[in-house]
Amino acid sequence: MQTLTQTLAQTPTLSGGFTEAPQQSARAFRAVMNVMARPGMIETLDLALPPAPLSVAAGTLALTLLDHNTPVYLAGKWDCAAVRDWLTFHTSAPFATAEEADFAFGDWDALQPVSAYRIGTPEYPDRSATLVVEMTALSNTGAILTGPGIKDSAQLSLPDVAAARANTALFPLGYDLFLCAGDQLAALPRSTKVRTV
């Protein structure tokens, strides 16, 4: 029994999931939907406590959107045992390469090259990847956004304006972006037109 104790008593940090899954996932989904429907909007999403380097917003987003049908790619230092164990325990999402992933997590540099991700096909533009980009800060400054869901124009601090413009040019194909900084969440769908100030 003693050896069993030693073998099994590893202490991975699996804590920090939803404590009231039905209510919290509904609230989180509402926030996720709002930011995607209104590009430039920044919402607070702080319902889960994932292991570093996953941010609070990205972790909550993962618990809300991932399940066993959504292959996940972890880029750079996000591909660590702590994050893998946590995502597996809470979402049972399988891990995949960038080319096969439905969701990718990492900062903008780690996620490169963006050409690796699926952008859908003309028949099924929805078969594309969603990138969850970890940022140090999010603010309503920088690039000017126009398009569906934006009344006149909005501003959002994007990681890479040129890449966003190239992605918009692929419409209706392309990937979608979620931007996370701490517990802040914003989104940039492929339909949004981006220009510099």
Partner: protein, 155 residues
């Protein structure tokens, strides 16, 4: 698949599998009664008890292909004791309390409390299961019909 094979061959995993299986199938009333008023050790909920259903697959006579027998309700729960061990439970039925206790038992079986838990909860459960099985087998045996054939005189 190789992972699974490796786990099956590991005696510690086999022991854990056995007690998790015992808890999963035990009747709720029995588990609650055996746990009694025992104070739970310091723990946090990794996954609060939640209900779901799973497809039970079967194979008749261990030959042929597996088939879907039907769906059953299960409740799952995971806890972590404050000193580290994690306990998981996937139990049949919709009793959240039973799932919580089963997860706690699984976690405590990985601590120094293992022996007393084994003696006070798992052994009685195993005995109850064995006697229930024996009663059922005896009832079935009473209805057994022995077919025998007289010499048919084919020679």
């Amino acid at each position: 698949m190789s992972d699974r094979t490796a786990l099956n061959g590991d005696p510690k995993q086999a022991a854990r599998k056995a007690w998790m299986s015992l808890l999963a199938k035990a009747p709720e009333a029995q588990v609650l009664a055996l746990w009694g008023e025992r104070p739970a050790p310091d723990h946090q909920m990794l996954r609060t008890p939640e209900l779901g259903s799973t497809m039970v697959r079967g194979r008749i006579g261990a030959t042929g292909n597996a088939f879907n027998l039907g769906e059953m309700t299960i409740t799952r729960c995971s806890v972590q004791l404050s000193d580290g061990p994690i306990g998981h439970a996937y139990v049949q039925g919709r009793s959240k309390e039973k799932a919580r206790i089963a997860a706690l038992v699984d976690a405590m079986m990985q601590t120094d409390a293992a022996e007393s838990i084994h003696a006070e909860i798992l052994t009685p459960l195993a005995e109850a299961r064995a006697s229930a099985k024996a009663v059922r087998a005896a009832k079935a045996a009473a209805t057994k019909v022995d077919f025998f054939t007289m010499a048919r005189g084919e020679d």
